[in-house]
């Protein structure tokens, strides 16, 4: 009786934890395989523990070249997409203009279109226009699919911002430019940074669109794809684990900062009376 009651109260949480386990399993396997010395190039099974892969992550130099190239592409695409997307977000949130609905569709569609269709259609364009494919066509493609995500992210932050803060600044003798520099930009910055991080991770991890527009240029996902046929070097798992660790570190640091700020606020605000709404 007691057991079934306990289960009835907690089965949702139990299922949730099992699903989280399902989501985490491959990462554990990747981390484990980064310490593996495979028995053969085409084997995916754990064979023998070794630190060699971490000591010499660039033993297969093609792979490290691909990683560097992915970082370069990701960086350029992120900068361009963040600038373009932020400008669009400002226009959408802060201005009234004709054609808003059309612009919204233009921003929404790339997020709702299968990557396959975007990749192949860009390929069709580049081929018919005679544009040689390579590094820059990848950058173009990545900017294209990142812009929408930047717009959405920055827009959310901007829409949540109190317009009265800017009015207050103008009231306090700040010109339009000073208001933007001193108030708007610092307050929207977290949204822009989040958008940039999202854009970078989308670009760095993209395979499908890149695959159709890369020519002979090899990014890290394309390297993995090619290697999956020829045999995966275990260092791929080192890169995968390292990426994961770096991202986790970033998340941890930012949440730590947020928590410290929150705690400071709580301590300071604790004795203060809560503003009460008067009945009306």
């Amino acid at each position: 009786m007691r057991v079934s009651r306990w289960l009835a109260d907690r089965w949702v949480m139990i299922v949730a934890l099992l699903v989280l386990g399902y989501l985490a399993l491959p990462i554990l396997v990747v981390a484990g395989l980064s310490f593996n010395r495979p028995s053969s190039r085409l084997s995916y099974d754990f064979n023998e523990f070794t630190l060699d892969n971490w000591r010499q992550p660039c033993a297969t130099s093609d792979m490290c070249d691909a990683v560097v190239r992915s970082v370069q592409i990701g960086f350029i695409a992120t900068v361009v997409a963040t600038v373009l997307g932020t400008l669009m977000a400002f226009a959408l949130v802060r201005h009234r203009f004709r054609g808003r609905a059309g612009i919204n569709v233009l921003i929404f569609l790339p997020m709702a279109t299968p990557e396959l269709v975007m990749g192949t259609s860009l390929l069709a364009l580049f081929v018919s226009a005679g544009v040689p494919q390579g590094f820059w066509t990848i950058v173009i493609a990545h900017v294209m699919f990142c812009v929408s995500f930047v717009v959405v992210t920055v827009k959310a932050r901007l829409a949540g911002m109190d317009r009265r803060l800017e009015e207050a600044a103008m009231d306090l003798y700040a010109s339009e430019w000073q208001t933007f520099r001193r108030i708007t930009l610092p307050l929207v910055l977290p949204g822009i940074v989040a958008a940039a991080l999202l854009a970078f991770s989308l670009s760095f991890d993209d395979f499908i669109i890149t695959n159709f527009n890369a020519g002979t240029t090899v990014t890290f996902p394309m390297y993995v794809w090619g290697a999956a046929q020829r045999g995966i070097p275990p260092q791929v798992n080192v890169i995968g684990t390292a990426m994961f660790a770096i991202a986790l570190l970033l998340v941890g640091l930012s949440s730590l900062r947020g928590r410290r700020a929150r705690r400071a606020n709580l301590l300071a605000a604790a004795p203060a009376a809560r503003p009460a709404r008067r009945p009306s």
């Binding site: 009265r164 009015e167 001193r182 605000a269």
Partner: protein
């Protein structure tokens, strides 16, 4: 930035035929008024009456559709907000969350290129009793403290006009009372013009030396709080500012300084000086606290007028007992009897007579279709706000 915060006072703030339309909606309708320099002026009205739009036009946050905003002789209606010697205390304060209290207060001075702000900011923080709060962030302050920062942030610029947009709305009752007194003190101290927008009539009456009651984009009445309360100009004002018993009647002209009124078959009179109409359909108004209850008509003192009815409800609210007296024609009059211990309570269901001194009544013009009105427009009668 000429003329900003200059030593010579610019003079009265005048609004001339100010109109603001949003599409087909007219928020402010041909508004003209003069706010004398150095006064504490309150714009009072229900939400949506156009008072905040008026304030925003004075601040420069909204451009008028037509009309002028004059400061002295200068039309500032189309100047950008940062070019006006006017500052605002915003509703819910709009403190910059990413800046410290010190930087919030120093913001205006810095934007005007003033380098050494330390002394000024310290002085200002102590004026609003927030010494030592400079390094904190707005989120670390309570509502009342934030309110005072907003005040300091505006006052430090020595504006010629300070606008207050529902500045106390987010505070609880006790804090609000405290801040009302505080604001009044500071206004007397710095001597600049305060324009205060509020929907809280008690707040307006406590602080302002002049109150303008706004309704549907127009000013219904303007004057000293006591004058408005004692002799309202319209039925709206009579029931927005406090509560009134308004009886529908017909006036039959003035004779001997008195206006004769027939209402519901009875004859009354009102001094001509307290009548805003002396012929045709009128409302005869008496405030509930000006009505007194007695058991029978022969107890009514000489020179007073009265209405008979049955007590249908009695609510004991501490300082007073509030009765409802159902008249013969069905209207329920409000009667507030102070619990001063001099009169006995009247039981519900008993017959009673409500009488008043004609000098306490007032006469307002009435739309022919309008009937008796006894309910307040808003649910916040004077002295009863929770």
């Amino acid at each position: 930035m000429t003329g900003m915060a200059s030593e010579t006072p610019a003079g009265d703030l005048r609004l001339a035929n100010l109109t603001k339309r949003f599409g087909i909606f007219t928020a402010v309708d041909d508004l003209s008024l003069t706010i004398p320099q150095g006064s504490f002026f309150a714009l009072l009205g229900a939400s949506g009456c156009g008072k905040t739009t008026t304030l925003r036009m004075i601040a420069g946050l909204e451009e008028p559709t037509s009309g002028q905003v004059l400061l002295g002789d200068r039309d500032i209606a189309r100047l950008r907000p940062y070019k006006r010697p006017i500052n605002t205390v915003f509703q819910s304060y709009a403190l910059f969350p990413h800046l410290t209290i010190f930087e919030n207060v120093a913001f205006g001075l810095r934007r005007r290129g003033i380098r050494s702000v330390d002394d000024e900011v310290t002085r200002m923080l102590s004026l609003v009793q927030l010494d030592g709060f400079g390094p904190r962030r707005p989120a670390q302050l309570s509502g009342g403290q934030q309110q005072r920062v907003a005040l300091a942030r505006a006052l430090i610029n020595q504006p010629q006009v300070l606008l207050l947009d529902e500045p106390l709305g987010a505070l609880d009752l006790k804090l609000r009372r405290q801040m009302q007194i505080e604001l009044k003190r500071i206004q007397t101290e710095v001597g600049i013009t305060f324009v205060h927008v509020t929907h809280d009539q008690e707040e307006a009456m406590t602080m302002a030396d002049t109150v303008a009651v706004m309704n549907a984009g127009r000013i219904e009445q303007l004057g000293a709080p006591a004058d408005i309360y004692e002799f309202p100009a319209t039925a709206f004002v009579a029931n927005f500012l406090g509560q009134s018993n308004l009886l529908a009647g017909e006036a039959a002209g003035t004779s001997g300084g008195e206006v004769a009124v027939t209402a519901h078959g009875a004859r009354f009179s009102v001094p001509a000086g307290r009548s805003r109409a002396d012929r045709g359909p009128v409302h005869l108004g008496v405030r509930p606290e000006k009505l007194h209850l007695v058991g029978s008509a022969d107890q009514v003192p000489a020179g007073h007028q009265h209405v008979t009815g049955v007590v249908s409800d009695a609510s004991y609210v501490g300082v007073s007992t509030q009765y409802l007296l159902r008249t013969g024609w069905g209207t329920e009059l409000s009667v507030f009897a102070a619990n001063s211990g001099t009169s006995a309570r009247v039981p519900v269901g008993s017959e009673a007579v409500a009488y008043w001194d004609p000098r306490h009544a007032f006469l307002l013009p009435r739309d022919a279709a309008d009937t008796d009105r006894t309910a307040p427009v808003l649910d916040e009668p004077v002295g009863a706000s929770s």
